[in-house]
Amino acid sequence: MSTPVVSDLSSPGPPVAPRDVAEGADPVLEIRGLCVEYGFGDDAVHAVSDCDLSLGRGRVLGLAGESGSGKSTLAMAAIRLLRSPGVITAGEVLFHSRSAADGEPAPTLDLLAAGEEELRAVRWSEIAIVLQSALNALNPVSTIGAQFDELLATHRPGLGRASRRDRAGDLLELVGMTADRLRSYPHEMSGGMRQRAMIAMALALDPQVMILDEPTTALDVVTQREILEELMGLRDRLGFAALFITHDLSLLVEFADDIAVMYAGRLMERAPAASLFRAPRLPYTYGLLHCFPPMHGERYRMEGIPGSPPDMRDLPPGCAFHPRCQWAMPRCRQDVPKLEPLAESRREVACWLHRDDATAPAELTLPDPAVAQPRTAPVIDASAGRAV
């Protein structure tokens, strides 16, 4: 059952203008003006409000936010897997597919307008998901091999039993497991192995997009790094794009190309990972970066962000972050800022401090370290100083 789209419930907003993708590269998944509500009418909770996000082909886009900020809701709604009482009230999600055979662009599909059959054709084969709890995602009463077999038999009817088994074994080896694990039940494996098996299953049909929803949150740091390194290696080899959802911003700085920050159901800042880390523009991002104690150097008292995340049923007016913002202005208490590009091109921010004639504080105007950077080796701009 797919998440219902009830677009007539929302007030007719301004039409969503097709916007240039920030990185200019060709997007594989474009989310435009997506709104998701839990419940109907006046009591509805606006879990996701007016989100625009685009995932470039072969890129890793990190989506950071605290619990309840709507990051998982956004991703699940985009593939219409959000459970009741979640309803999509506005927006479109464009999937720009490419045929696996010749790389030719296939017709663009709006996932929010698609029917069950069209969604079935896309889910898992083109857009796969890895969830936080592999123990819940895997079937406890059948072996890993049987689950692979069922998956491949359904989606690749041409394959014989033996070739399905070979393919399953190859997939497990791809994620650092041995093929004899096909005989294991999920409960016989450690948490890290289950998550690896889950990733292998997500890769089984060569998807163009992987949605990673807190894939390593339940794991120990050593296993977490092993799995993320493997995933990024596979990304380089197989070329899928990934939407990586996590609450751990410090992890995204290391592993994502671009990072989008969500707060209270809205996208608040979007920038290349190194730029966001070295030179945040949004007060919330700045505060969040100062919530991770450093591993080196002098220890000093850090204050984090005062207050606590807002109650989604009772959001403050204006910018939802203003009660916790040290630079809040009168305007922040009244008007909701929109995510708009900054002069520096590749990044967007939703903050009044960067609009019109407002003067942004020095902390939020650190020089952006280069625009295009290799993913693995962020260049430190000496003049930028230490952001954390």
């Binding site: 740091v221 050593v222 296993t223 790094r225 000093y300 962000i305 080796a377």
Partner: protein, 361 residues
Amino acid sequence: MTTLAVAPNAGTETPVLEGRGLTKSFWVKRNSGLLARRSRLHAVDDVSVQLDAGAVTAVVGESGSGKTTVARLLARIVKPDTGEVLLDGHPVAAARSRKFAAQVQMVFQDPFASLNPVHRVRHHLTRPLQIHHTADGDVDEAVLQLLHRVALDPPAKFADKFPHELSGGQRQRVAIARALAVRPRVLLADEPVSMLDVSIRLGVLNLLADLRDRERLAILYVTHDIASARYLADTIVVMYAGQLVEAAPSVTLTDSPAHPYTQLLLSAAPDPERLERPVLAARGAPPSLLAPPPGCRFHPRCPHVMEICKRMAPPTVTVSPDHAAACWLHVDPADRVVDGAGVTPGTSPNPEGEAEVQRPP
């Protein structure tokens, strides 16, 4: 934080709470029906920790390393198989007495589970005040005082709330206030911030730091997050597979780790500041505690493994003043040869231990 003194009194004072040689194993049931049998799970093996007044000691380890069991042993919630707990240098009676509870209090990981949802905050704080007679007269006034101490202002407003009306950070503050109600000298905090949102974790850590500095509490901080341990703690002890592998002042430990496992943990921890992708110092997973490998329990994963590591448990070596590591690498090669104690026939590597050496590729 205001004081960053490392190794607060370096053994000159008697520690407030001390665990000596704590060992605990649990019996777990494996299989079912005719094949059912009970096996011994070695959760904690010969662990000694000291908690000094006005200092935070962090216990860092992966899940299953036994760090929570150590906290529970120190709180006398779990009885050790061998070893003893000393309060002010005196052994504590086996039963958990009210007198002991008035000195040593625990703060649990999940503030959503540790507060009773049908009672207001006032009730949670009134109960310990009444049971331990620590209110000095006006109980209501004492409740407000407690809320003020954990920075829940205005106290009168928070006293009348139910747990579900509070955010996670506020709930954890209430749980800390409840622990403080009996005027303890030791606080055992088991992963107090891991369930909280990132943006409010520092607030709770800073509260613990303030309690240490202002009220000279001895605090045990159990965590899997080595960065937060470095931030808060004066001393860090690292646990692996139920054993202590390294102990040092926190900056020393994170800046110059001596044990290969600590090096592995540090190489795996997220660190946006680092310039290039770290090379993981080792791979694989911790061993099963039902049949821990012989010798050093880390040897199947250790990149520097030597023959002796597989056969004999390493001694605790003083790497530098206040810095100890249990690793053969820090033993003079001349002394690594089997000495008087000798390698007894029972310590030869068993087949299971050998199998552990191979990790999944």
